[in-house]
Symmetry: D2
Subunit: 346 residues, 4 copies
């Protein structure tokens, strides 16, 4: 096919590259169906490569003799990019919406501990006007000596909570062997931060027909988050919600550093909705409201927070869960600020 357009890549040759090395790169590009624009120079020759993204990605350019660096000009993702689809994606589940003018308030316990705890929380978050109910059935835990979730029993409790409140349920998938059980019960499948680059899971949920809530890994760049989303969308599932939940930095006053800038950056780069998890970022209850407010003001499409009837007895992440009794005020504060930003809780 005819190749036109701008360079995908700029290949900077080293100052000591020979003409043969330059020619070798140009020949390899030609074999891959790409055009090469050579800008020769005394110190460093630069080659612009114009061609098909996939063909260029397959070339081991950085390994060629004489190549100093390869600078990508186009982004490594395309299906999730704002250029492809300027209109914002809206995720709709059981009549609830996240994206565009619909702000998502997702709330619920860190973990489903027992039936009454989950139902009491579900009623409270539904009553306060939430968009969806979150709750962990399978929990990743850093230490092997801590509680790791009720598993399928938790899914049954969540379904009961949905039947009573009408709220769609969001729960995490950790193991590809649980795909069927989770898909059967959940409305939105969460991929946790530690699994953001578990490509096995990403491919599985890419073939599912349920929306995916994809959390950013604590050491993943914004670009890597978008590439992880691209994995899911490439398999056919375009309903992905991105979630910023804090990155690993040197600061220890908070569990993670909430990367608030990721929100406007992601809104610029992608058409997918972007929500924020202030509970995990902060690790402390008294920071959840200010961080949730900051997320709304920065332009997030929603927040996901942890709520518990008695956080002091929670089996998991007690210090960061909002007491059920405080949740109505919390929801009101968020609602008011979302209005000011032109959003309705969806």
């Amino acid at each position: 096919m005819a190749v036109t357009g701008s360079p995908e890549l700029l290949i900077v040759m080293s100052a000591h590259a020979t003409p043969e090395e330059v020619e070798h790169v140009v020949d390899r590009l030609a074999e891959a169906g790409a055009d090469a624009h050579v800008t020769p120079g005394r110190e460093a020759t630069v080659i612009g490569a114009i061609g098909e993204r996939d063909a260029l990605a397959a070339l081991p350019l950085e390994g060629y003799p004489g190549v100093e660096q390869v600078l990508p000009i186009l982004k490594p993702y395309k299906l999730v990019s704002r250029e492809l689809s300027p209109d914002p994606t809206v995720i709709e589940v059981r009549g609830r919406r996240i994206g565009d003018d619909a702000f998502g308030l997702v709330a619920g316990p860190c973990t489903v501990e027992y039936r009454e705890q989950t139902l009491e929380t579900a009623r409270a978050v539904a009553q306060a006007g939430s968009t969806m109910l979150r709750g962990g059935a399978f929990k990743p835990r850093t230490s092997p000596y801590t509680f790791s979730g009720l598993g399928e029993e938790a899914l049954t409790i969540l379904v009961e909570a949905r039947e009573e409140t009408g709220l769609p349920i969001v729960t995490e998938l950790m193991d590809p062997r649980h795909v069927e059980a989770v898909l059967e019960h959940a409305d939105v499948i969460q991929i946790g931060a530690r699994n953001m680059q578990n490509f096995t899971l990403l491919s599985e949920v890419g073939r599912a027909d349920k929306p995916v809530l994809l959390k950013r890994g604590p050491a993943a760049s914004i670009e890597e988050l978008l590439m992880a989303a691209e994995y899911v969308v490439k398999e056919g599932n375009a309903r992905v919600i991105l979630c910023e939940r804090g990155i690993t930095t040197f600061e220890r006053a908070t569990r993670y550093t909430l990367d608030i800038s990721a929100i406007p950056v992601l809104k610029q780069e992608t058409h997918l909705p972007v929500i924020v998890d202030p509970s995990h970022a902060a690790g402390r209850r008294e920071l959840v409201l200010p961080l949730a407010r900051a997320a709304v003001a920065a332009g997030a499409d929603g927040i996901i927070v942890e709520v518990h009837p008695r956080p002091e007895e929670a089996l998991c992440d007690g210090p960061q869960q909002i007491p059920v009794a405080d949740f109505p005020d919390f929801a009101d504060e968020i609602r008011t600020l979302a209005h000011l930003m032109g959003r309705q809780i969806g």
Copy 2:
């Protein structure tokens, strides 16, 4: 003197510490006038030290044989701590206020480049209701090949801008030998991020009778920022404004990662006002408004932003400066959100 109260420090002895090593620690504590509470155990003995902070700080406890770790229970700062002074400090300069219900909108060019650029900007930010005018006279630059400010000439231009607009002026002090010139002209002395631990400068401004705007270093923890403020206050100058401006992380989509959580954490820990610099954190103009909004919503006492008549010609940080023409709308957005948070621009 009689020592009462809670332990300042917990000293955890190693599992292999001998009784003599435990006794040695207890003896050293006693010599320093501190009490020791020993909790012996089969694996690790823990010693609680109760005494005067300064006396304990002078003991090289971690170097004593048998000591595994020393855990500070009390904070390493006191004059700046919220415990000492529960009421928020308000900084007042020429009738303008920052702190408590007064939100500070500090704006102006990155650098004073020439008279007209500065006056035009000053008029615009005054017109839009700003609290203070910022402008660099002496500029720290990473590369020795870039513009480093007009120096004392810039101070004269800033004074002219103040005379015309009435806005107090904020400018950076980099060299202790410029103290007199800067103190003579400026209303608020800025200590830049790279100088946050320049203890020479901190002591100098601690003896000045002008408020200090202290920026967080890009690799400094929140605790280190508070200790830097303690340096200033300890010398006698209690008028310190803290400024979060982004920390160094692995993320490269933004110049720094704005640590939005630092705002509620600092508001909890200290009585000093806390403002945010979204321009330097982001490095890109289109992120300045969302980050500024996030700062207001997170509870900041003010923001400091860069404004330029023609950012595309700016000698410094062009991409992050707000055009003068866009500033009125920017100020209106901030004002509206500050109102919602119960603040007036001071």
Copy 3:
């Protein structure tokens, strides 16, 4: 049972904690079978908790009213700790050894690309005296548009390479559904950096009877690496090799920052062997030898490096693979330095 010994945890109560809140904590500890040593004070009361690790880990102490912080005194891992087993663990596979005086030189292609590439590399690394052959069959890739490995076909090629050279083979397991295939062919199962906290996989390999090579995640602390190893050992598989391969930092001159200090720290903390992957840390061939040397000198029990007949044609990580032709010299350098450190290549 009778509880003796040192405190597991120190619980620091807030300055405003009431006597009832202190009592509440003590009561909860008692219910969990733990003893409480209370050191009261005017500002902060400290409670030392002495009891069974698992029972204490299950208590949501940080959520109790009045609790300011919980300081663990004992390490959150035990089976992998040096205290439990002062003698170094030696991993022996098909007569090859890693640990104690046996230094492991693990080498091979990043990915099994085709039969001849793998066999040629295997012969060269065997000839140069390597301990094991590495090679990827299933590859995690950040972008969905790049080569992700030959899968089971690659396992067959690796087995052929083992038959010819006698070298045990190390290959990565990414998906719990591949456990049987990988266990059937591989001698050592690698858990990749991105899966270090894939607890599903950790439990699976914990039940396998093959040694596990566990790579540190790029954002995982040394303590988290040890807890991940504890997951594996707790399931019954004590043959774990730890691997430092670089962490995510702000520095961009290298792909990751090799945490060389992790080696002496890990050797102090655990009896498990610790090896280093300089290829992935550096991302550039010319850094592999200096970093490999540094690893030996810092006390590592082995290194794992990537080797390719023609790195410039490699489908994966070309720039960091050592050419087959250069490998004998590389191996000689490592051997000489290992001798100086009192080690033999195992």
Copy 4:
């Protein structure tokens, strides 16, 4: 003048840039005496700029309308670069050498505390064959409540130690107003990590005729370290020794993360000698030897370590100082390894 050679910069225009915006960039480049090579494209036009480094650095290219990113092709430093001067720089002071085949062993107390402590240490490190004596007179301290050095009195003690042992002395300069006192007494002026970007100090020592030991800031990239060195060299002082001493990361098992990869990277980029400070990186004595060994093996030109007669009584950094009694063995280990690397202690 005629401009030839390779592009200094590649300017990538946004996909929506107009022809006028491209022309505007080309015109600005022409005014600055630079040539522009335009590679037009459907999606993104790329402009290669060929011209004088200083002229291009002065252009606010990133602020021009339509510019998406500016990619520097040449390095932002030149005087310190390996290209400029392929032969390694050797720093010679009072007959002692660091660089090329001369390995520098710099040792001494963290801080000069009193005369006998310093003299005893100086004798021991001289006896063990060290290259230079280090010792702090003015100490930067994170907390205002800790010991900050004896100041000029310490300089006198160091001079006495030099007279007795013949070792050149290295001491830190923190305040430009101390330049004369420090220059009068010291042989090598240290710029501490916190002052790496104190451009006031860099310029001062750039005009001195004493060698400078420049420590990397804990959040400074390798490129920023080289630019800081460029500041010094640009003022006329070409005798700069670079020092890696650990960077700030999320890992807390060590005080800083020693960036061992910085050594081979710096050796590739610059002709200046590169030494390593394992004491400050580790913060713990038992890690100093393994890290020092790693530094030698990675190709460092020297190490700088802290030694104290009785570290448990040290007023500063006790836990990381090597006892005088252990130093001879330490020096022997380093000497043996340096020999293997083809170096003599200078």
